[in-house]
C-alpha cells in the first residue's frame, strides 16, 4: 500500500465501518473539491456569519471603520488565533489540548529570567534571544510530554493534557513563587526590544498581528498541501485504518502536541509583552476554552478527521467581533458570554445539519 501515490492516497482500503461524522470520503470531497452544495455552504457558512457581523458593525457601531478599531480587534484576537491554530491540528487528530493556557504561563515566567541581567550571557542581545527561544523550547518540550502521554502512555488526550493543565500552572507559580513580575523593574537594556513583540509597530501594524498572519498562512499550507497535513487528517478520520495505510499515526499525534506547545509558548510571550508584566496566575487563563471555541465555531468538528485553519481564524474573529459589538453597545459582560455560548451551539447545530 503506497503512501505517496497522490491526493487521497491514505483512503482506507479496509472494510472497516466508518462512523458518519468521521467519513474521510466526505471530508475529501468537501475539503478538496467543494463540488457539492453542502461543501460550499460548510466552507462559507462561518465566513458569511463574519461578513454579517462586519456589515452590522459598519452600519450600527460608530467609528467601526477605522484603522484603530481594526488594529484593536486584531491585537486582541492574535494570541487566541495562534493557540487555536495549534489546537486545530490537535483536534484534527481527534485529540484535544487542555494544557495550552498553563503552557503559556510557563513561557511567561521563563522569559523574564533571561532579561533580568543580560550581562551573564555575554551580551544583552544573547539574553534577548534566550528570552524568546528558551521559553518556546520549554513549552514545545512540555507539548512533547503531552504527546508522549497520548502515544506511548496510551492515555486519552483530555486526561493526558489535564495533567499539565493542573501541574503546568503550578510549575509556573512555583518558579516565581506566584509573584507578578513587572518589566520596568528589569535591568536588561533589551527589555524594550522584548516588549516590541506586543507593543511595537511595523508599518502601523502590531508585530503579533504579523506573527499571527504568518502562522495562519504556514499552518493552512501545511494542513492542505503537505503529506504531514494529510497524515493529520487521516489519523483523526480513522486511526486504525490510517495505521494500516502506512500513516505513522503515533509520530503524527506526537507532533501535533509539540506544535500546540510551540504555539502556546509564542502566545505566552506576546501576552507578557502586551501586559509589560508576567503574572503566572493569569497568563493564558481560560485560553484552552477560547481556543477550542474558535476551532469549533470555525467549522472543525471535535471528532477529528476534518479541519480548516482558515475556518479557525474566522471562528476566532467571529467570537472577537461578537464580543466587540456587544461591548461597543454597552451590553453587560454576562449577556455577552451568554450570546457567545449561544453562538457556539448555533455553529455546531448548523454544521451538523450540513454534514448529515
Amino acid at each position: 500500500m503506497g503512501t505517496e501515490s497522490g491526493a487521497g492516497s491514505w483512503k482506507p482500503e479496509v472494510s472497516e465501518p466508518l462512523t458518519p461524522q468521521s467519513d474521510p470520503d466526505a471530508t475529501r470531497r468537501s475539503v478538496a473539491a467543494g463540488a457539492d452544495i453542502a461543501g460550499l455552504v460548510r466552507r462559507y457558512g462561518s465566513f458569511g456569519a463574519l461578513v454579517l457581523l462586519v456589515v452590522y458593525n459598519v452600519v450600527f457601531t460608530p467609528n467601526f471603520l477605522s484603522l484603530g478599531t481594526l488594529n484593536a480587534n486584531l491585537t486582541q484576537v492574535a494570541t487566541i488565533v495562534i493557540v487555536a491554530v495549534g489546537m486545530t491540528f490537535v483536534i484534527a487528530t481527534g485529540g484535544v489540548d487542555l494544557s495550552v493556557g498553563s503552557l503559556m504561563a510557563i513561557a511567561a515566567v521563563l522569559a523574564p529570567m533571561f532579561l533580568v541581567d543580560g550581562e551573564q550571557f555575554g551580551a544583552p542581545a544573547i539574553g534577548l534571544m534566550l528570552a524568546i527561544i528558551a521559553p518556546i523550547l520549554a513549552t514545545t518540550l512540555f507539548g512533547a510530554f503531552n504527546g508522549a502521554l497520548v502515544t506511548i502512555g496510551g492515555l486519552q488526550p483530555i486526561i493526558a493534557t489535564l495533567v499539565l493543565f493542573l501541574a503546568g500552572r503550578g510549575f509556573a507559580q512555583v518558579i516565581v513563587n506566584g509573584e507578578l513580575q513587572e518589566f520596568r523593574n528589569f535591568g536588561s537594556p533589551m527589555v524594550p526590544n522584548f516588549l516590541f513583540i506586543g507593543l511595537g509597530e511595523i508599518a502601523g501594524i502590531r508585530p503579533q498581528v504579523i506573527v499571527m498572519v504568518v502562522i495562519v498562512l504556514i499552518a493552512a499550507w501545511v494542513l492542505r498541501a503537505t503529506t504531514f497535513g494529510r497524515y493529520v487528517l487521516a489519523t483523526g478520520g480513522n486511526a486504525s485504518a490510517a495505521r494500516l495505510a502506512g500513516v505513522p499515526v503515533n509520530q503524527v499525534k506526537f507532533a501535533v502536541y509539540c506544535i500546540s506547545g510551540f504555539l502556546a509558548g509564542i502566545a505566552g510571550l506576546i501576552v507578557i509583552a502586551i501586559n509589560r508584566s508576567s503574572d503566572p496566575s493569569s497568563v493564558g487563563e481560560l485560553m484552552e476554552l477560547n481556543a477550542i471555541a474558535a476551532v469549533v465555531v470555525g467549522g472543525t468538528p471535535l471528532t477529528g478527521g476534518q479541519a480548516t485553519i482558515l475556518g479557525t481564524f474566522i471562528g476566532a474573529l467571529i467570537i472577537q467581533l461578537l464580543r466587540f459589538s456587544l461591548i461597543a453597545h454597552n451590553i453587560p459582560d454576562g449577556i455577552t458570554r451568554i450570546v457567545i455560548a449561544g453562538a457556539i451551539v448555533a455553529a455546531v447545530l448548523a454544521q451538523r445539519q450540513r454534514t448529515s
Binding site: 484535544v96 496510551g154 486526561i159 493542573l166 503550578g170 512555583v174 451568554i338 451551539v345
Partner: protein
C-alpha cells in the same frame, strides 16, 4: 488427600490467588492509597488528625461540593460523555440561592437545584436530540451559565440574607454530621442503588459501552442521556446552594475549574473516561483521596517538616493524577491482552 494432583492444584490456586491479589491492588489502588494515607496521618499527627471536627466539618463537609459534582460526573462519564459546565452551573445556582435567601431556606434551596436542573436539561436535550458532542455543548454551557451568574449577581457577590434561615443549611448538624455532608451521603447511597439496582443504571452502562448497540437493543438512549445530564446539573445546583450557605454569599467568580477537579476525582477513583464501566463508590474514594492529600500536606507543613508554598498543590495534584492514570492504563492494557 495425598494424591499427586494435590500439590499441583495447590500451587495453581496459589498463583491465581497471587494474580488476583496483584489485580486487586491495581484496581483498588485508590482505596489502598486512601487507607495508607489515613493510617500514615493517624500515626504521624495523632488526635488532631482524627478529631470529630476535623473529620466531619473541616474535611468531609468542605469536600461535599466536589463529592456532589463528581457524583453527577460519574454518571455522565459512564455514558461516555463529559460535563464541563458543572463549575459554572454551581456558581449560577449559588447566586440564585443567595438572591432567593430573602424568601427562606426552602425557596433558595429549590431555586438553586431547579436552575441547575434546567441547565442540565438544556445540555442533555442538545446532546440527545441534536446529536451534538457533550464536550462542545457543555463548554458552551460553561460560558453561558457563568454569564447568567454575572447577570443575576450584577457582577458582584450577593450576600446571603441572614434573617430568613438560609445560612442554617451550612450550620445545622445531625449529631456530629453537618447537614450538607448528611445530604451528600444520602445522595451517594441513592447513586449506588440507582447504578447497581435499577434499569436506569444498566441503561447508563449500556450506552457508555456501545451507544449504537444500546439503541438497537431498544434502550431509550435519548431519555437516559437527558436524565444523566439533568442529574449532573441538579447536583451542581445543590453544590452551589451549599457553597452559598457555607460562604454566606453567591459569588459569580467562584468555582473556577471545579469541572476538572471532579473529572480528576472520577478518573483517580478508577472510572474510565471511555464510558461503559465505573462505580459510584470509587468516585467517592477519588474525591476523598484528592482531598486528603492536601489535608496531609497541611499537617506536614504545620509540623514544619518543609516549607512548600500553596502553589505546589496544583503541581502535586497534576503529578498525582499522572501517576494514577498511567497505572490505570497499564492495567487496562493488561486486561485487554
Amino acid at each position: 488427600m495425598v494424591s499427586a494432583a494435590v500439590p499441583d492444584a495447590y500451587s495453581e490456586s496459589e498463583t491465581t490467588a497471587r494474580a488476583r491479589v496483584v489485580s486487586a491492588i491495581q484496581r483498588q489502588g485508590a482505596l489502598i492509597a486512601l487507607i495508607a494515607l489515613i493510617v500514615f496521618g493517624v500515626v504521624r499527627y495523632g488526635e488532631n488528625y482524627y478529631s470529630v471536627y476535623n473529620i466531619f466539618d473541616a474535611f468531609l463537609n468542605n469536600n461535599s461540593y466536589y463529592a456532589l459534582i463528581a457524583l453527577g460526573m460519574t454518571f455522565v462519564i459512564m455514558t461516555g460523555g463529559i460535563d464541563l459546565s458543572v463549575g459554572s452551573v454551581a456558581v449560577l445556582a449559588a447566586v440564585m440561592a443567595a438572591r432567593l435567601s430573602a424568601y427562606g431556606l426552602a425557596p433558595a434551596l429549590l431555586g438553586a437545584v431547579l436552575i441547575g436542573l434546567t441547565a442540565g436539561l438544556i445540555n442533555g436535550g442538545l446532546i440527545a436530540r441534536f446529536a451534538l458532542q457533550p464536550f462542545v455543548v457543555t463548554l458552551a454551557m460553561l460560558l453561558g451559565a457563568r454569564g447568567g451568574a454575572l447577570v443575576l449577581s450584577e457582577n458582584a457577590p450577593v450576600m446571603v440574607d441572614f434573617a430568613k434561615g438560609f445560612p442554617q443549611l451550612g450550620m445545622l448538624h445531625l449529631g456530629p454530621v453537618p447537614l450538607p455532608l448528611a445530604i451528600t451521603a444520602v445522595l451517594y447511597v441513592i447513586g449506588v442503588i440507582l447504578l447497581n439496582q435499577t434499569r436506569f443504571g444498566r441503561h447508563v452502562l449500556a450506552i457508555g459501552g456501545n451507544e449504537e448497540a444500546a439503541r438497537l437493543a431498544g434502550i431509550p438512549v435519548g431519555r437516559t442521556l437527558i436524565a444523566v445530564y439533568a442529574m449532573s446539573g441538579a447536583l451542581a445546583g445543590l453544590a452551589g446552594a451549599f457553597l452559598a450557605a457555607l460562604s454566606f454569599s453567591g459569588s459569580p467568580t467562584g468555582a473556577v475549574g471545579w469541572e476538572l477537579s471532579a473529572i480528576a476525582a472520577v478518573v483517580v477513583g478508577g472510572t474510565l473516561l471511555t464510558g461503559g464501566v465505573g462505580s459510584v463508590g470509587s468516585t467517592l474514594i477519588g474525591v476523598l483521596l484528592l482531598g486528603l492529600i492536601f489535608v496531609t500536606l497541611n499537617f506536614e507543613r504545620g509540623m514544619g517538616t518543609f516549607q512548600l508554598s500553596s502553589f505546589w498543590e496544583n503541581v502535586i495534584r497534576g503529578v498525582f493524577l499522572l501517576i494514577v492514570v498511567v497505572f490505570q492504563s497499564r492495567l487496562a492494557r493488561r486486561l485487554e491482552t
